[in-house]
Amino acid sequence: MTAILFYVFAALAVGSALVVVGQRNPIYSAFGLIVTLCALSAIFGLLGSPFIAVLQVVVYAGAIMVLFLFVLMLLGVGAEDRKSGRTLKTVAAVLAAALALEMGAVLVGAAPAPVASFDASTRAVAHVLFSAPYLYVFEATSILILAALVGSIVLARRDP
């Protein structure tokens, strides 16, 4: 059951990722990406990480992609009118394929045999997140977000 769901969502993710890359209209790309993200969220859930799964939807699908769509609509972006150069495309495709193969060589078999029991409940994740090494990083992210907030307001202001 879980495996079937996994492959369904994996196919969905890959398909919509191809839509992201293949569509010339950025709005379609954005919708494709949203589907990918939701599918990935489901996969996270299937891999036993409910908290991250929900967070993925909230942050990525719920916030970041809304921002993307908002900007796309605000700027009234249409479809691309020029194609990318053939050489670039070819080289990029070859390199991407090479990278994928190499990563496959690294990753496949790299993962240790999975442990039997796995607890990634919110409480467990929170315990790791709010203790020694990560706590300071967590605090630092608040500064990062503040900086991003201020920065984006300053950058997007009409009168600099």
């Binding site: 409910p50 699908a61 809304v66 609509m73 919110t122």
Partner: protein, 361 residues
């Protein structure tokens, strides 16, 4: 008839889904009628009162009418998205209400009519009891904006696009306040599970333990943000008739229009149900001498829905810049301060209380 445990679970789930969504659809259609009637009364009119006794069959008539209307897709529209948008809106709306509990756990009676495996079985009055329930609602409701944005964009029309833009900005902004307003409640309960949150509000003094007492700021923020989140007056700018014709659903007709409407009402029901669970103790009884029961939950739910209708009958619409300023400069800081205070109380409260107790003998 013997079923494997998995099949049993599945059967129960299907029955729950069917019953619950049947009830929800009924509630939705009654809501459309109730809203029109109540608004009419507030404005010294009568409202729909011809179809059936006191007009109660009006939703049926509306449904039939919408069903038989022509489905129009504008020539310049992005067809697939235009079609998918209402479905997505309804889908997210239904999905999020699935984790709201409307009662605690009940034990089925040992009636002879029931299959043996059902007798004495404990059933949770909730479709899905998620560990991250409230986060799930948050996640799904944040997806809800896509239905509107897609609808607004796909119609390829200035007014719908503006409606979609407005709603994305509005929902995006108020979602923050909405989520933050929950945090206080979550801190108090120490869990994302809505069952736990409701249970945390139980106590010997009835409604005094409910969160709207301790979390009065959070509740106020929730009330405002939730109203904005479901695009209800006074925050119904995405569909402001005087400015945007009908906003994002200008180009929709027939059943797709009905679906968008349904999404809006179901969202409203969700928000009221979540409010009832988080701030008004869900199915808990307000007074100690009456038993807890799902009836209380529905009573609170109806009160919440009435409140939304009442708001619509009372308040004028906000201006767009006022809306954004209010969301970011009032609600978000207020909710943040609420979190800080709540967290401080949760963290230091017991210690301080203990030391005071110790000091006072």
């Amino acid at each position: 008839m013997s079923l494997t445990p998995v099949q049993q679970e599945l059967t129960i789930a299907v029955v729950k889904v069917v019953v619950f969504f049947g009830a929800l659809l009924t509630l939705f259609s009654v809501m459309t009628w109730a809203e029109r009637r109540l608004l009419a009364f507030m404005q010294f009119r009568l409202g729909p009162n011809r179809t059936g006794p006191i007009g109660i069959l009006q939703p049926v008539a509306d449904g039939i009418k919408l069903f038989f209307k022509e489905e129009l897709i504008p020539a310049g529209a992005h067809k697939w998205i235009f079609v998918a948008a209402p479905a997505l809106a309804v889908f997210t709306a239904f999905l999020s209400i699935a984790v709201v509990p409307y009662g605690g756990t009940v034990t089925l009676p040992r009636w002879g009519l029931l299959p043996a495996w059902l007798q004495g079985r404990e059933i949770t009055l909730q479709i899905a009891d998620l560990d991250v329930g409230i986060l799930f609602i948050f996640a799904i409701s944040s997806l809800g904006v896509y239905g509107i944005v897609m609808a607004g964009w796909a119609a390829n029309n200035k007014y719908t696009l503006l409606g979609g833009l407005r709603s994305s900005a509005q929902m995006f902004s108020y979602e923050l306040a909405l989520g933050l307003s929950w945090v206080g409640v979550i801190l108090l309960a120490g869990s994302f599970r809505i069952q736990d949150i409701v249970a945390a509000q139980d106590g010997p003094r009835g409604l005094l333990h409910w969160n709207f007492v301790q979390q009065v700021v959070g509740f106020a923020v929730y009330l405002v943000a939730a109203t904005a989140e479901v695009n209800r007056t006074p925050f119904d700018l995405p569909e402001a008739e005087t400015e945007l014709v009908a906003g994002f659903h200008t180009e929709y007709s027939s059943m797709r229009f009905a679906l968008l409407q349904m999404a809006e009402y179901v969202n409203m029901i969700t928000v009221a149900a979540v409010g009832a669970s988080l701030f008004f103790g869900g199915w808990l009884s307000p007074v100690p001498f009456l038993p807890d029961s799902p009836l209380w939950f529905f009573l609170k739910l109806f009160a919440g829905l009435f409140f939304f209708i009442w708001l619509r009958g009372t308040l004028p619409r906000l201006r767009y810049d006022q809306l954004m300023a209010f969301g970011w400069k009032v609600l978000v800081p207020l909710a943040t301060i609420n979190i800080l205070v709540t967290a401080a109380v949760v963290l230091f409260g017991p210690g301080l209380l203990a030391s005071w107790r110790r000091m006072l003998g």
